[in-house]
Symmetry: C2
Subunit: 230 residues, 2 copies
DNA sequence: GTCTATAGCCTGATAGAC
DNA sequence: GTCTATCAGGCTATAGAC
């Protein structure tokens, strides 16, 4: 009982401090001071600093993955087992973007923690991300059903680019706001999700084999290989 | 004179060790052992560990930026002051991708160092990246000349997505190789550059206002706003 | 089981001799 | 410029109180 209170206090204090000041500037001593517990309690309950960080990240990460898979399942049921490609990509990038940029969660501790995790990518978080690859296969499977003709490599690249755009937007939102001098509205999450989905769909459908040996003007600018030639 | 040799030895040893084992696992004591110099020499020559890392990164980073701007200048001269959009994006993402994935530099110390810098994003490197925003304005200016009709916001988003795809490909190349079980060829740099450029061009030209209030089937999947409505 | 006090070792940084 | 010695602060481990 009392154990749960100490454990929870550590988790809450850690998430708050990491969200506020980042992983680099927060020590275990800062965390135990904020939580009003003893230094050794962290090791007792979590084993190490890294495992504490890992638990924080896994908790938030699992929630996002559940949202993703629910949205995917819903979209496929709605389409009788086959969802349109844009709905699949929407299910993939929507939860992540809304979780970090959403107006409801605007500046919530959880959102700011996940943004920090995205920007600083400390070792325990990297480890988790690296083994968190299985649930992406479910998206590849859904994409394969949506676009039966496409090469698998094209599907993987499409998925990869969709994740690239959403993660990079979260990670570099300050920079983009500054570079564009406010002309890119980073508060309108729905518009951002649509933009990412729209570009991802174009990436997946745009180079749709016009003629094996006649690359489109735009796709083969410098006489290099086009996707169709790979 | 002797100072220069010590300085260079530290730089070389640090870049090698960071490239091999990452920033998290390499201490100053490891570096001075590899360089056969005294521990205090690092602080004497660089001020701090962070400034040593910063110097390593800035050196490689400036070289890439020079390549980028040279390629951009060349493309604009070739077109009489106005380069086609794909050539501009090529100049933007080509040097970065070739510098990290190129077959000539395959596994070179410099390439592996820059990949580490991209993956681990340690504080001194983040600081440099954050203030390294000015030279991107030259690319925005060139893009504005190439696509006079486009909204500035669209140009910024296009630039942002191009960088997103190239950086994410460098950063997650192992993961993509594993996820795709080798079906995505991460050794064919030219093909990757073309793929990134091709998608970026589509992002910039694809949503080209078909009709103000009739969003295309693919761009407005869920009745949300399309780019044209922003 | 839960928690505290304390000691250990490693890190980056620095002062002062040479 | 270079080196030795030492420092403060970080995370971890453990012995023992409750």
């Amino acid at each position: 009982m009392s154990s749960d209170r100490t454990r929870s206090a550590i988790l809450a204090a850690a998430e708050k401090l990491y969200a506020d000041r980042g992983f680099g500037d927060v020590t275990l001593r800062d965390i135990v001071a904020e939580a009003n517990v003893n230094l050794a309690a962290v090791n007792y309950h979590f084993g190490s600093k890294d495992e504490l960080i890992a638990e924080l990240f896994v908790t938030r990460s699992l929630a996002t993955n559940r949202e993703r898979l629910n949205a995917l399942k819903l979209a496929e049921e709605k389409g009788g087992g086959r969802a349109p490609i844009d709905a699949i990509l929407h299910a993939l990038v929507g939860p992540t973007l809304r979780g970090c940029l959403g107006p409801d969660r605007e500046g919530s501790t959880a959102a700011r923690f996940m943004i920090r995790a995205s920007i600083e990518s400390v070792p325990p978080i990297r480890r988790i991300k690296n083994r968190e690859v299985d649930h992406l296969r479910k998206f590849i499977a859904a994409m394969r059903r949506a676009m039966p003709g496409r090469d698998d490599a094209d599907l993987y690249w499409g998925l990869h680019f969709a994740l690239a755009m959403s993660h990079h937007t979260i990670r570099e939102k300050e920079r983009l706001a500054r570079l564009s001098e406010g002309q890119c509205d980073l508060n309108d999450v729905d518009a951002i999700v649509d933009r990412v989905v729209s570009v991802s769909v174009m990436a997946l459908t745009g180079g749709e084999a016009p003629a094996r040996k006649a690359p489109s003007k735009v796709a083969a600018p410098h006489g290099r290989l086009t996707r169709q030639d790979l």
